[in-house]
């Protein structure tokens, strides 16, 4: 019987080198994603889990249900989604329900034993959240949200999804900056920032007070929570709390970070790090 690993808000199960990731949520006997998750965020979590076990992957072949650029920024792994014929040892198999399998041996029969109990999502919550995302992603929906263009989003993607920081004057700078006080350009962000921080302040915005890009989902969630944190290596940042977390922050809490959906605009999902308690 394999171990069930709670990992970045998902469940992971190993069969030798193969890994199955699944959502911890169920609705009408079907595994479903939580409020701000999808195949991309779960694939990123799975690659992080594999990496933590010493299984390093540089390329993986997948159906086009994951966002390759988000995975690349968050993990450094190249996702091949096309008809390319290049040799690729690893495959990402996308399940019909909220499951993924990472394997480097398609011939072998895999066997995973999932958890005996899963968290059942409230029907109203689930359907309202689905409807909100569907509307947000539809081409006819014109969001009045913050306009972070695709170019601006991609420019900051490595810092946003992979916590890549700049090394400057023996300290780490994050989020990246352009020039220093001497008028010199800072280096590219290529130093990883450890995903460990302490909450220095926090707030919960009511649904009515939430920015317009969250206007569809904030009422379903009962508001949105944001933490102001200081990383162990010095820089500070602000992050949403992952939407599935039943967590009210306190100053002094240790938190870590997971990749989740932030919001969608012009059909493009913006992914980013969200905070979860470090105990998770």
């Amino acid at each position: 019987m394999n171990e069930v690993i709670e990992w970045q808000g998902y469940l992971g199960m190993f069969d030798e080198n193969a890994l199955m990731m699944q959502s911890p949520y169920i609705h009408n006997d079907v595994l479903v994603f939580g409020a701000d998750s999808d195949y991309t965020t779960m694939a990123i979590a799975g690659l992080h889990l594999l990496s933590s076990r010493g299984i390093m992957i540089s390329e993986i072949r997948s159906l086009p249900l994951v966002n390759p650029s988000a995975v690349k920024s968050a993990t450094g792994v190249t996702v091949l989604c096309g008809e390319e014929e290049e040799a690729c040892d690893w495959n990402l198999l996308v399940g019909e329900e909220a499951t993924l399998v990472f394997t480097n041996d398609l011939e072998r029969d895999l066997g995973f034993h999932g958890p005996s109990e899963l968290e059942s999502l409230d029907s109203t919550f689930y359907s309202d959240m689905q409807a909100a995302w569907e509307k947000e992603l539809s081409s006819t929906h014109v969001s009045q949200g913050a306009y972070v263009s695709e170019a601006a989003y991609m420019e900051g993607a490595d810092a946003r999804l992979g916590f890549m920081a700049q090394s400057h004057d023996h300290a780490l700078v994050w989020p990246p900056r352009q020039m220093d006080g001497d008028g010199k350009r800072l280096q590219q962000a290529n130093s990883p920032l450890l995903a460990s921080a302490v909450v220095e302040s926090w707030t919960k915005l009511s649904a009515a007070g939430a920015p317009s890009e969250f206007a569809l989902r904030a009422p379903v969630l009962g508001g949105i929570q944001t933490v102001f944190v200081r990383f162990e290596q010095g820089p500070c940042g602000v992050f949403l709390v992952a939407d599935d977390e039943q967590y009210e922050p306190s100053i002094g809490d240790q938190v870590t970070f997971v990749v989740r959906r932030i919001y969608a605009q012009e059909g493009l999902i913006r992914y980013g790090m969200k905070a979860i308690p470090a105990s998770n």
Binding site: V148, T203, F228, V238
Partner: protein, 418 residues
């Protein structure tokens, strides 16, 4: 944090001051600047559009000049506006001035978020100081209540850090809530101190005919308001207001053509800070305010203790609490105690903070707020406000106008004497 702060008077203000001292030593000097007129619309849900509101404010300002004033006397105009809603995003100033008899003069829109007209006032002051103009109009305008709720929520967030703060769910209620909770954690301050500020500003604004929200609020009611961004409630947040304001500045050598009762604009200080909270060394103080006030006090030759009244940028009650520290009215960390001890109450405390009711009660039409504060100080120093809210024996007043969560700030010192 990676770049160190330089909390010093800004170079430009410093240079003006030094140059002026040198010139005076040789019998010359830069001109002094006076306010000769000031006016504004009532803040709130205004029935007019941009052109009508601006004309109303300009008309009030022109009419407040004691003698011989005509629009043709104006050499230049600076109008602050965020252009909320995007209705007249480009060439706002050209459109507005042509509707107030000012067509043909150099004009421009000044944009620095909620500090837009504070910086318009600074630009106007500098235009006269430099000798380029003798009579200048500084004003501001915003129309905020003619948008759908969703469009308004978008525009309310455009002046914060879009790429990082906004994508973390933050607009200004959120950023100021983070500052408030941290201040409570670091110092002897509580939400009840913010409640005291709210009650005070509603009390001050109750008598102000130009105020958006003219109602007194009990401590208990303000304490139990609807939570907007924990720990900030509805009673900690200013309203979104329509409004326009205008002041007329004149060089000392032409002042007597227009009035024998000028208010002198003794100095202008300004500063800036990182746009996003996470880049600042501390989120419980606003360095831009410290820079701006330090420069303005120094140039005017005063200290905080000399100030009789202050129009302070209380977009949220925590902003006023922190400003009382950054402006020097309270020691670091003692802003809560200052509010608790009612030291900012009119004719009762050390200094009257927000005699107009502040942004909380008078209202906050973003681009109009800075010069609207100047309208209040002008009238207070001339003794021309409603009797019930006159600050007694007021000689020196300041305005404190902040952009965003503290990325920009302008502080001006006004006096009965030069």
């Amino acid at each position: 944090m990676f770049l160190e702060y330089r909390v010093e008077p800004t170079a430009s203000t410093h240079d003006f001051n030094r140059a002026n001292q040198m010139l005076r030593a040789f019998g010359y000097g830069m001109v002094d600047v006076a306010v000769i007129g000031a006016g504004q619309t009532k803040y709130g849900n205004h029935p007019s559009g941009l052109k009508g509101m601006w004309a109303e404010a300009a008309e009030q300002a022109f009419a407040s000049v004691d003698q011989n004033f005509e629009p043709r006397h104006v050499d230049e105009a600076f109008i602050g506006s965020v252009a909320f809603g995007g209705g007249q995003l480009g060439n706002t100033a050209a459109l507005l001035t042509e509707h107030s008899g000012l067509e043909g003069i150099p004009v421009r829109r000044v944009e620095n978020a909620c500090a837009s007209s504070g910086f318009a006032l600074r630009d106007a002051w500098m235009a006269i100081k430099s000798g380029q103009a003798d009579v200048v109009v500084a004003g501001g305008i915003e129309k905020m209540n003619d948008l759908s709720a969703e469009r308004r929520r978008f525009w309310l967030g455009v002046s914060g850090d879009t790429e990082w703060e906004r994508l973390a769910g933050l607009t200004f209620p959120g950023t100021y809530a983070l500052m408030a909770r941290r201040h409570f954690h670091e110092y002897d301050s509580t939400h009840d101190d913010l409640v005291n500020i709210s009650v005070k500003n509603h009390m001050h604004g109750f008598e102000n005919e130009m105020a958006h929200i003219r109602k007194q609020v009990s401590f208990e009611k303000a304490q139990s308001g609807f939570m907007v961004a924990d720990p900030l409630t509805l009673y900690d947040c200013c309203p979104t207001s329509d409004g326009a304001s205008a002041v007329i500045l004149a060089a000392d050598h032409v002042v007597r053509q227009f009035t024998d009762d000028p208010v002198w604009l003794r100095s202008s200080g300004a500063g800036s800070d990182y746009l996003a909270l996470h880049d600042r060394p501390s989120i419980t103080q606003v360095k831009a305010t410290q820079q701006a006030s330090s420069a303005a006090y120094k140039a005017a030759g005063i200290t905080a203790a000399d100030v009789d009244l202050a129009e302070v940028h209380d977009c949220f009650t925590i902003a006023e609490l922190m400003a009382t520290e950054d402006l020097g009215f309270a020691e670091r960390g003692q802003g809560g105690v200052f509010a608790r001890e009612q030291r900012g109450v009119r004719n009762q405390g050390d200094v009257c903070i927000n005699p107009s009711g502040g942004l909380k009660s008078k209202g906050h039409p973003l681009g109009a707020t800075g010069t609207g504060q100047a309208v209040e100080v002008f009238k207070q120093l001339r003794g021309s406000v409603e009797d019930a809210r006159q600050v007694r024996d007021a000689e020196i007043g300041i305005t404190h106008n902040v952009g965003g969560s503290g990325a920009t700030c302008a502080v001006h010192v006004f006096g009965r004497d030069r």
